[in-house]
Symmetry: C2
Subunit: 429 residues, 2 copies
């Protein structure tokens, strides 16, 4: 254990730079905590000549990233290349095949190929760790894998995408519409030039599927996540939600039980008394319900150089200590294969918002569709004309079957009165 | 690793019963997660014949609790006897001396003797774990020891006593005074018949000193915790705080830096926008600031059968997995010995409340004492007469040296106008 843990670092973007900085700045403390030094010995990235503001002179430069897997001086590879397949996956496979440890922040790769990689790690008796893949700096994988390990967990949910939370918080604070705030978030670096992965919920879905597997002891099932992002949320939705005592958040919910495995990313109305309602800006937060511990709540920075690098280095410290085991908290073969639950079989309270033509009979048409589908209305508000000459109808339903809500919306499809797509948000309970 | 991990359980109170129930109810899942079965083989408690509603027939009964340490069928002892010394400490010492693992929920023992026990565990290469000693079911020891391990942490603080938080929340919700609410809390089982350990802050101080050591890499220093509880908080303090945008919470704060190690349990005014302001009832919560991850926030049930047993069993799972190491996140000899920081050297914003005689010159006397001590007043409110014929003066100071506030109170000691002790609360920043 006195030997140095030698790290090969693949990818020198924001997080890669962060890992170099954490290991340098906190070198002595990390060695005391890990029981030995953790040293980067080799690095690899696409462009050797790009100025990253990093001193790389102490590290061997490896042109062929995959060669890190077989580099004789490397004990553990840190994969920060990104992308579910391609060079990242090749490096991951070869690293584990070579019997070396793999630490990654790559949520897409783990969501798609985590089970395969976990099996490869078990075969090689090598560590595989991906704390940084979920909720950035928050140690929620360790919190579920280790801290809550005594519990049957049947529900885990949270705010898993900082970009979306930044945008929704800013819309809430300023009353502005989605497009405006997205442009601002892009200017500030909180959203990518191509923001689709974040705002359409894919990134959150990757993370939710990983969390669900660790929490429930079920095989990861990314394909089973129902996903809707926040593009369709308008300022008026947030204002109506506020008037009703809610805040709008993109929430990922996973549940497992007799009905199977349910996983969904969707805009939710969160009651202002709920801890998730107080998660603002780019923060992330996760709630897990254990059958003995009750709800556990974890909150922190969900992205960014320092927080994500903190999670990567925490995994390296576990490995340096020899304190690691199966990545999903149990061997891959011990994970249950839970069938996906059909959302139509669930019960919910829904917020429905229609943009409508301001003409006679619109309300009756909507109310009739609700009645005929068996949706019970708790409250309904119609607000006056908008700039485009239309009006807005916002409905909160009583709890009832989701299939009824879907049927009501189906009845209204093709209506001459409803403009564009209706907005359906779930009310978090 | 396929062998059963055999547990000897000392103490069959609330938490002991919980451990038996968790291991029974979640048996299969725990075995999948731990890689092997965890079985209680022997139990010991004071009175064999007491009806605890537990089926103990599957366990050997050990009359002499200390004999668990040398019992040939026991791999790990779970100590749930309580008390900083006496039988608990004897059992802990003998267990580790015998080379067996020790898991404990005993915050008093760890606060007083943790370093000695950690050294003994290292000598024996045996595991020592005390997740359940701090913040009940919240895995905050693991969160700091493992999750935040890459970070220099210079500040950790939180709500560490559920009884106090229950009382303060109930005072806030009902406007009632401390004595009333304490009686209710006792009737509901949220406070002990002798509530001194909780309401005078000792229990929170035990936990804070343990947290600080794990977070900072400093030797545990319980004797260095400045402690004030909540007995002196009156309903009017909570009302004034609310009017100013604060809630009253008993907060433990630990900081380390060039000035040394500072540890204090004290009633605080917490801004309503701060996550700790939303921690209500018997919940606990901890915030740790890492130099790369930023603030991490953990919240959950701080006490009770299920949550505390969840933490005990999580430690057993770590041990069953072989994923354990030095209890304070580094070897005992690697811990720094930080000198205690004198609170007088700190800067603060203070809330000061005086109950005063309703007569001419009182305000001038208080204001003069503040001025002469160099305390700058941000706001001052005097409220009319109370039932006892007095009045109340509440002051919020600008930020300034704590020694100035102490000097001002010293100047007012023996005043004929001030009734009883002034109340000093810190304003959390």
């Amino acid at each position: 254990m006195a030997d140095v843990l030698r790290v090969g670092l693949a990818g020198l973007g924001t997080v890669g730079g962060g890992v170099i900085r954490v290991l340098a700045a906190n070198r002595d403390l990390i060695a005391r905590r890990a029981g030995r030094s953790i040293e980067i010995v080799a690095v690899s990235a696409r462009d050797r000549n790009r100025d990253r503001g990093l001193d790389l002179s102490g590290f061997a430069w490896i042109d062929d990233t995959t060669a890190l897997a077989s580099h004789p001086d490397v004990d553990v590879v840190v994969e920060l290349i990104g992308g579910s397949d391609g060079p990242a996956l090749t490096l991951a496979r070869e690293t584990l095949a070579a019997g070396k440890g793999l630490v990654t922040a790559n949520k897409a790769m783990i969501a798609h190929h985590g089970l395969e990689l976990a099996r490869a790690a078990e075969t090689a008796r090598a560590p595989l760790a991906f704390e940084a893949a979920v909720a950035g700096g928050i140690p929620v994988i360790k919190g579920l894998r280790d801290g809550a390990a005594a519990n049957v967990i049947e529900r885990v949910y949270g705010i898993l995408n900082g970009t979306c939370n930044f945008i929704l918080s800013a819309m809430e604070a300023s009353g502005r519409d989605f497009g405006d705030v997205l442009a601002e978030a892009q200017a500030l670096g909180y959203a990518e030039a191509d923001p689709a992965f974040d705002i359409d919920g894919i990134d959150a879905a990757h993370k939710l599927s990983i969390l669900a597997s660790v929490a429930f002891g079920t095989q990861p099932a990314f394909a089973g996540v129902a996903v809707q992002g926040i593009r369709e949320v308008i300022a008026a939705d947030i204002a109506e939600a506020a008037a009703l005592g809610y805040r709008v958040r993109l929430v990922g919910v996973a549940e497992v039980g007799a009905g199977g495995l349910f996983q969904r990313i969707h805009p939710h109305l969160v009651p202002t008394g709920h801890p998730l309602a107080h998660v603002t800006g780019a923060l992330n937060a996760v709630v897990a319900h254990g059958n003995f511990v009750g709800p556990l709540f974890f909150q922190g920075a969900g992205a960014g150089e320092g927080p994500t690098a903190s999670a990567v280095v925490a995994d390296l410290i576990d490995i340096a200590r020899g304190e690691f085991g199966p990545a999903y908290a149990m061997p891959a073969d011990a994970l249950d294969q839970a069938p996906p639950q059909d959302s139509a079989d669930r019960r919910c309270r829904a917020y429905l918002r229609f943009t409508v033509m301001d003409r006679v009979g619109v309300l009756a048409e909507i109310a009739t569709a609700m009645r005929d589908a068996g949706v019970s209305i708790e409250s309904l508000i119609q607000r006056g004309t908008t700039a485009s000459g239309g009006a807005m109808v916002a409905i909160v339903t009583h709890e009832g079957p989701e299939r009824a809500v879907a049927a009501a919306l189906e009845r209204l499809r093709g209506s001459q009165s409803v403009v564009g797509q209706p907005m359906w948000m779930h009310i978090l309970s």
